[in-house]
């Protein structure tokens, strides 16, 4: 069997919607969704810190829920609707209040955990527009950050929540 046929017989075609844009790609069934996003679609904002589902750096929104993209195979995401950090900004380039919050409140240092934190926090604020600090801490507790000690992140989410509530009024 030549390399080509071996390969094509393994490939599966999947279609995903990522940040409102549709993509069709051929992937091996064993390829992780995080690798599909990063290497195939070149959306490298989603980071990989552990590949075993603990650090949360690879968190994305899949069909409205925060999901660890290192624990999902690309083929499982066929037909899914995905939002990554690249999709947080509005079309005209305005930052999401959470992005502003992280910037204002020093919610990041190296920035590696930041995309995953943003996606997790985004889900929190969608469901709880006025979280207490304790609730914020609990919500982000599945995302590891090695740099900030989390305090700046909690401040950032609080800041964003306030901004979003004011906007909604």
């Amino acid at each position: 069997m030549t390399e080509k046929t071996a390969e094509s017989s393994r490939l599966k075609t999947i279609t995903l919607k990522v940040n409102q844009k549709e993509y069709t790609v051929d992937v091996e069934p064993r390829m992780l969704l995080s690798d599909v996003l990063r290497d195939e679609l070149r959306l490298t904002g989603t980071h990989v810190g552990c590949e075993h589902g603990v650090c949360g750096a690879c968190t994305i929104m899949m069909d409205g829920r925060p999901v660890r993209s290192c624990l999902v195979f690309g083929v499982q995401a066929d037909q899914a609707d995905i939002v990554t950090v690249e999709g947080l900004e509005s079309q005209d380039g305005e930052l999401h209040p959470l992005q502003n919050g992280f910037w204002e409140k020093h919610g990041l240092q190296c920035g590696f955990c930041t995309p995953g934190m943003l996606m997790t926090a985004c889900h929190l604020l969608e469901h709880n527009p006025d979280p207490s600090r304790e609730e914020i801490r609990e919500a982000i507790s599945g995302n590891l950050c090695r740099c900030t000690g989390y305090q700046g992140i909690v401040d950032a989410v609080e800041y964003a929540a306030k901004e979003m509530r004011e906007r909604a009024e």
């Binding site: 390399e3 071996a6 091996e28 064993r30 390829m31 990063r38 290497d39 070149r42 959306l43 490298t44 904002g45 989603t46 980071h47 990989v48 810190g49 552990c50 590949e51 075993h52 603990v54 650090c55 750096a57 990554t84 950090v85 690249e86 947080l88 900004e89 930052l95 992005q99 992280f102 910037w103 204002e104 020093h106 990041l108 240092q109 190296c110 920035g111 590696f112 955990c113 930041t114 995309p115 943003l118 600090r133 914020i136 801490r137 609990e138 982000i140 507790s141 599945g142 995302n143 590891l144 950050c145 090695r146 740099c147 900030t148 000690g149 989390y150 305090q151 700046g152 992140i153 909690v154």
Partner: protein, 764 residues
């Protein structure tokens, strides 16, 4: 003035939008990927390696074992504190005939992608003859222990002996003597981004290597040396970097192997360490045993101190040489004035991953031991531990003060400071005076609370020099090139603030360029909290020279003496009245018409380090049933002379505290008796989450600016980390004071607290 202002970081826009470019984000045409095969045994002889089957796999491009590397290849040398004695235990990029820790690199596979490379790894057959391992530094010194490097003939690679006065004699005459054994466990920086490299080689064998960090220029030279190339045939480029903390950026086996593979293949080769690999491959740190003896009087005044330290180096000497043990030893006395000191440190090899620095190297360990000992002295005498501290502090009028010990080729000489003040503030903030009452009321309710303190002295501003080049472009924007590197600490913003102050322009008009050997002519990099002190001072001077040049031209044009003018608000102003004298635009046009170059370089030299200091305090509550510990209140007072950006300093302190908390309570790189790392994933190596890290109150003091640099700064990188363990341990002991439970080793796991509490539970 932008120095001293909590300005938003220039780094952040890219990072919050996913536009950051970490090494794993880069992709070049034809790129392929490497996987490193590592030893599964702690100690073994390699009998044979058969890679034939793997070579035949579709998509496999290259397989390297030690026999494929040049015969004259040298091992990876030490970067800091090199010593010929240690050279017999250096690491080669691939193990030749013997492996010495689980994770020792044995072969490299390059394939069209990582999935295929990992497939191929299963088809490499390596035959090992397993040797008995040794996994404990003290046992490693026993007669009959397996010798790791037969050439060296011993596992005790180095003995550091430091003394002042006659500790042994003095101990004999002390009223009280206390002897204790304390232990700090293995743990490490564990940045969220693992290491990675991407090496490109063109037709003329010129290399570009992305993913460098920390000490880019040093590694540049070393890479050239090991690869037998001219320095100008290699370019190292720093990408965004997902956390440094010490381990990342040192020269590791992969820093040779990946470029070497790229040269062989003439294709871009990428290697991204996976997390499981990171735990085994990247420098560990911290593991030390201390046997301390202190002699003191009835007032708690300590006169003599003796310590014997066993430093677990792991299987090889890596780039730090003796840095960590010598820093542990030299900084061990901390803020106290002890008249007689004797410290002996054994640097010992074991069959575990080699070690290097991690945030506060040597100080985390030494501070834990010393600050526990202070509390033990207090407990022994039934004195207030804060009073014992006070009675032993070096006083401001004794500054500059040398403790008689040396490290990194320098005698420790504290430049300035008032150690008692930070303790005072901590006592006040934590309500120490009222605490005994609060504690006994809590105890009546069945609650166990405790309050603990820990003082520390840090070091920062490691020399010998740093470089900066500041250029003003015709559009008024400034480019500041620095020899520092960015590992997330915000060097870009810090240097922009410094240039902005000198040149009177907004800090956002400054672009900071770093970590590219093609763009920055030289540098020493970012480690040992040297950035703001040495690199910041270089930028300050370079920008200052540029300012002088600009003002001179302006003065000639305006026909006024130079000292009447200043740069402010994006233009030239009259210094005294502050009114505008000439817009910057006009001045730049004049300079360009006159052919004046607006680029200045400065290399700032510094002979002595500078010493920030402070005090940590923790109030904790213990759950008597589970042993769980809750931190009710945490406080850090830190005097660093001058804060360039207080928000970033606070971020460093709180982030550093979280790492210190991990080391104090959770993190443990634990080995079993056959040398297998049993906590090698995030499932069992526990990093504090947002639920464990408490709200931290910091107080940044600027009372004692450093006399050693023009900015007066002392660094901020490590002070948040080093005193967490003793503050918490002292708080736990305080909560359980009537039970005299020692708590002399880390981590302070809840099961140990629970055990202790169970044992002392009243009989029913």
């Amino acid at each position: 003035m932008s120095i001293g202002a909590s300005l938003k970081r220039l780094e952040d826009y890219n990072l919050v939008t996913g536009r950051g470019q970490y090494v794993g984000d880069l992709q070049f045409p034809d790129q392929c990927e490497a996987v490193i095969i590592r030893s599964p045994h702690a100690h073994a002889i390699i009998r044979s390696i058969d890679a034939e089957e793997a070579r035949g796999l579709d998509g496999v491009l290259l397989i390297l074992t030690a026999s494929d590397l040049p015969d004259d290849l040298r091992p990876i040398p030490m970067r800091l504190s090199p010593d010929p004695i240690l050279e017999k235990a250096l690491q080669y990029p691939l193990a030749k005939d013997r492996v010495r820790y689980v994770g020792d690199p044995v072969a490299v596979i390059v394939a069209k992608n990582r999935y295929v490379a990992e497939d191929a790894a299963d088809f490499i057959h390596i035959e090992y003859e397993v040797l008995p391992p040794v996994t404990d530094a003290v046992q490693s010194l026993e007669p009959g222990a397996p010798i790791l490097h037969p050439d060296a003939g011993t596992n005790e690679m180095y003995l550091i002996h430091g003394r002042k006065g006659e500790a042994a004699e003095r101990l004999k005459t002390c009223e009280h003597v206390l002897e204790e054994e304390l232990y700090v466990q293995r743990h490490s920086g564990i940045p969220m981004e693992t290491r990675g490299l991407l090496a490109l080689c063109d037709e003329d064998e010129r290399l570009t290597v992305y993913g460098a960090a920390k000490v880019v220029h040093f590694n540049h030279q070393l890479m050239a040396r090991l690869l037998n190339k001219n320095i100008d045939e290699i370019r190292l480029v720093e990408t965004d970097c997902g956390g440094g903390f010490g381990p990342r950026g040192e020269f590791y086996p992969e820093d040779y192997l990946i470029p070497f593979a790229a040269i062989q293949l003439k294709r871009p080769v990428r290697w991204i360490e996976d997390r499981l690999e990171h735990f085994k491959a990247t420098n560990h740190s911290r593991e030390q045993k201390h046997r301390v003896t202190v002699g003191f009087d009835g007032d708690g005044r300590i006169y003599a101190l003796r310590d014997e330290i066993f430093f677990d180096q792991g299987g090889y000497i890596r780039t730090h040489g003796t840095t960590v043990p010598s820093l542990t030893q030299a900084m061990f006395p901390g803020p106290y004035d002890f008249s007689d000191i004797e410290i002996v440190t054994h640097l010992v090899l074991t069959n575990k991953t080699p070690v290097g620095t991690y945030r506060g190297p040597g100080r985390f360990e030494g501070t834990f031991v010393r600050e526990r000992v202070i509390d033990m002295v207090a407990a022994h005498l039934k004195l207030d531990p804060t009073i014992v501290r006070e009675r032993n502090y070096i006083r401001p009028e004794q500054m500059p003060y040398s403790n008689g010990l040396s490290a990194l080729g320098q005698v420790i000489e504290y430049d300035s400071g008032d150690y008692a003040e930070t303790l005072d503030r901590a006592r006040k903030f934590m309500g120490w005076e009222q605490f005994a009452g609060k504690q006994s009321r809590a105890r009546q309710e069945g609650r166990f609370i405790g309050l603990g303190f820990a003082s520390f002295v840090e070091k920062s501003g490691f020399g010998p020099w740093e470089f900066a080049e500041v250029e003003m472009r015709p559009d008024g924007r400034v480019i500041c090139k620095t020899g520092l590197t960015e590992v997330g600490q915000g060097i870009t913003t810090t240097l922009a603030q410094i240039c902005s102050d000198q040149l009177g322009i907004p800090y956002s008009d400054v672009s900071v360029v770093h970590g590219d050997t093609a763009l920055v002519e030289k540098g020493n990099g970012s480690f040992a909290t040297r950035g703001a002190v040495v690199g910041g001072s270089a930028a300050w001077h370079a920008a200052g020279l540029l300012k002088e040049k600009l003002l001179k031209v302006a003065a000639e044009q305006l026909k006024v003496p130079v000292d009447m003018l200043a740069l402010k608000d994006g233009g030239v102003v009259y210094a005294e009245a502050g009114q505008a004298a000439m817009p910057l635009e006009e001045l730049l046009t004049i300079c360009s018409d006159l052919g004046i170059s607006l680029c200045e370089k400065y290399t700032f030299h510094i002979e002595h380090m500078t010493y920030p200091y402070g005090c940590h305090a923790a109030e904790v509550e213990l759950d008597p049933d589970t042993g769980a510990l809750q931190i009710l209140k945490y406080y850090i007072a830190y005097d660093l002379g001058k804060a360039i950006n207080p928000m970033l300093v606070e971020g460093q302190l709180i982030g550093g505290m979280a790492q210190g908390l991990g080391g104090a309570m959770y993190e443990n790189l634990k080995y079993d008796e056959i040398g297998q790392l049993v906590s090698g994933s995030f499932m069992d190596y526990l990093i504090p989450t947002s639920m464990e890290v408490p709200e931290v109150t910091t107080e940044i003091l600027e009372n004692y600016p450093s006399p050693l640099n023009p900015l007066g700064v002392k660094g901020a990188g490590e002070g948040g980390t080093v005193a967490v363990a003793p503050a918490i341990a002292n708080a736990i002991v305080n909560a359980l004071q009537e039970y005299a439970i020692p708590f002399t080793s880390l981590p302070l796991r809840p099961e140990r607290i629970r055990e202790a509490l169970k044992q002392m539970k009243p009989e029913r």
